[in-house]
Amino acid sequence: MNFANAFTPERLQEAWQCLLTEFPFAVWETVYSTLLATLFAVIIGLPLGVLLVTGEQKGIRPLPRPFMSFLNVMINLLRSVPFIILMVMIIPLTRVIVGTSVGTVAAIVPLTVAAFPFIARLVESSLREINPNIIETALSMGASPLQIVTHVMLPESVPSLVTNITLAITTIMGYTAMSGAVGGGGLGKLALAYGYQRYRFAVLYLAVIVLVVITQIIQSFGTWLAAKLDKRLKNQ
């Protein structure tokens, strides 16, 4: 590899061409696989996060200890497997669900599996921020456990949930880039295909810059939205 030749005018010209032709689709792939994976991960992870809080022995609806231990261990196990390994490990599952283990759509399966335990923990921490006195108040009004979740816990933690899900989205986007190494599509694949396999570092750097920009946009939007939704801030 010759790093010095990576940024000659011809290479930069080539990268610019690539930016115009291949980047738009790669950005689209990155964004939709990230958002779909986040959506599925929230669908699975949100109820699990709620169970982690409500099901504990001092929670509003205690569940059997063995079940809670199983839930915690499962989440910790999934969280501790590095994403790139997890992706390979669950290829059989991906094939069952999508029919193939290669491509952007196929990558959504391991992305979801990697993200839902993360989301579950984030939801757990958001719900634990709630003042326990408010839960007690809801109980004193005659709220059922399910009503406490839907009328009190979730609405009260919306700003925190938005902040945490923003964090999850940026993390999952990092995973999509990694998925490029083992069959996933998007900016990660582009960066690796050009930069790692063909020494086109200009393209790799451009891909990284675009990823950084997307991350910034998502993070800024999430922060703005969380602040806008938070009614604890005075004078709005």
Binding site: I134, M141, G142, P155, K231
Partner: protein, 342 residues
């Protein structure tokens, strides 16, 4: 009517356990504003939580109009909690919901019609004096206003009983007064029985008609506020009535003649009693300590007097003071003997 029968609550802790409540027996009649007062750790918060079963009593029972709260099913208990509502020290409003939505919440939980709920909630915001705050968020309100919203929320299900757990402890004296006035209004206008948990005697004095004093999980004294104020028997009560009681650490000179003048609802609270005694009998008593309070237009409490002179002077002073209605006089020695018994 709420009856607490042999109510006990034991908490298991790492170093054995704590008996938070021991064999509590109390009867709260309909229409009462019943004060339960005690120092921190006396068990009053646990006691009030046993009434609506937020804490399950270890032993004994809570009877609400004769129904045992402990035997209710989860569903029946939830229905009962709409009839025994509660307000808290920290107000505990939903911070992400407008005041109107907060007040509507209990009705939403019981699955009522939305429009009817909103109408009722607006009525109650009106009742607590905050009709213009319907669309404000709790963070935009002062503590006193937040407590008013919490009161509206507690009343929206038309309860029979309102439990107040240190409801004014986070408020300044002026706001406390306003909230207590509101509570008394509610009691009188809506006929709701109120149970007030507090550590402040001034709160009991201002709104309650009956009081129980709780110390280390036991009721050490109970009765009407007037009785308890006039003649506090338990040491805990005296400490609560007058936390800076000069007698708690005062050392009086040996000898001398001391009498305790007890006001038991004397109407002549504005009479210059000691000055009149000096003029009428020529006895120049000096005040060693005093703790008197006006409850309504009557005076309760005592003055501790040092009477100079001979035993005859003492006798004349006692005779003079005893002629005034609702004042009793005790010689200090006699009082000390009584205290040993208590």
């Amino acid at each position: 009517m709420i009856e607490l029968r042999n109510l006990s609550k034991h908490f298991t802790t790492s170093d054995g356990g704590v008996d938070a409540l021991k064999q509590i027996n109390l009867t709260i009649e309909n229409g009462d504003i019943y004060g339960i007062i005690g120092m921190s750790g006396a068990g009053k918060s646990t006691l009030v939580r046993c009434i609506n079963m937020l804490e399950r009593p270890t032993e004994g029972s809570v009877l609400m109009d004769g129904r045992d709260m402990g035997s209710l099913s989860a569903k029946e208990l939830r229905a009962m909690r709409r009839k025994i509502t509660m307000i808290f020290q920290g107000f505990n409003l939903l911070m992400q919901r407008t005041c109107l939505k907060n007040v509507m919440l209990p009705l939403k939980l019981s699955g009522g019609n939305r429009e009817a709920a909103e109408k009722k909630a607006r009525e109650l915001l009106e009742l607590v004096g905050l009709p213009d705050k319907a669309n404000a968020y709790p963070a935009q309100l002062s503590g006193g206003q937040q407590q008013r919203v919490a009161i509206a929320r507690a009343l929206v299900t038309e309860p029979d009983v309102l439990l107040c757990d240190e409801a004014t402890s986070a408020l300044d004296p002026k706001t406390t007064h306003a909230i207590l006035e509101l509570i008394r209004d509610i009691n009188q206008k809506l006929g709701i029985t109120v149970i007030v948990i507090t550590h402040q005697m001034s709160v009991v004095q201002e709104v309650c008609n009956k009081v129980a004093i709780l110390e280390n999980g036991t009721v050490v004294e109970e009765g009407t506020v007037a009785e308890v104020f006039a003649n506090p028997r338990a040491a805990a009560t005296r400490n609560l009535i007058n936390p800076s009681n000069p007698e708690n650490d005062a050392i009086f000179p040996e000898g001398g003649q001391r009498i305790r003048v007890i006001f038991n609802g004397a109407v002549a609270s504005r009479e210059p009693l000691i000055a009149k005694m000096a003029v009428d009998c020529g006895i120049l008593a000096s005040i060693l300590g005093a703790s008197t309070r006006s409850v309504g237009d009557k005076a309760y409490g005592y003055i501790l007097l040092d009477i100079p002179g001979t035993p005859e002077d003492l006798g004349r002073a006692i005779a003079y003071l005893s002629t005034i209605p609702n004042i009793t006089v005790q010689v200090e020695a006699e009082y000390a003997a009584k205290e040993e018994r208590a």
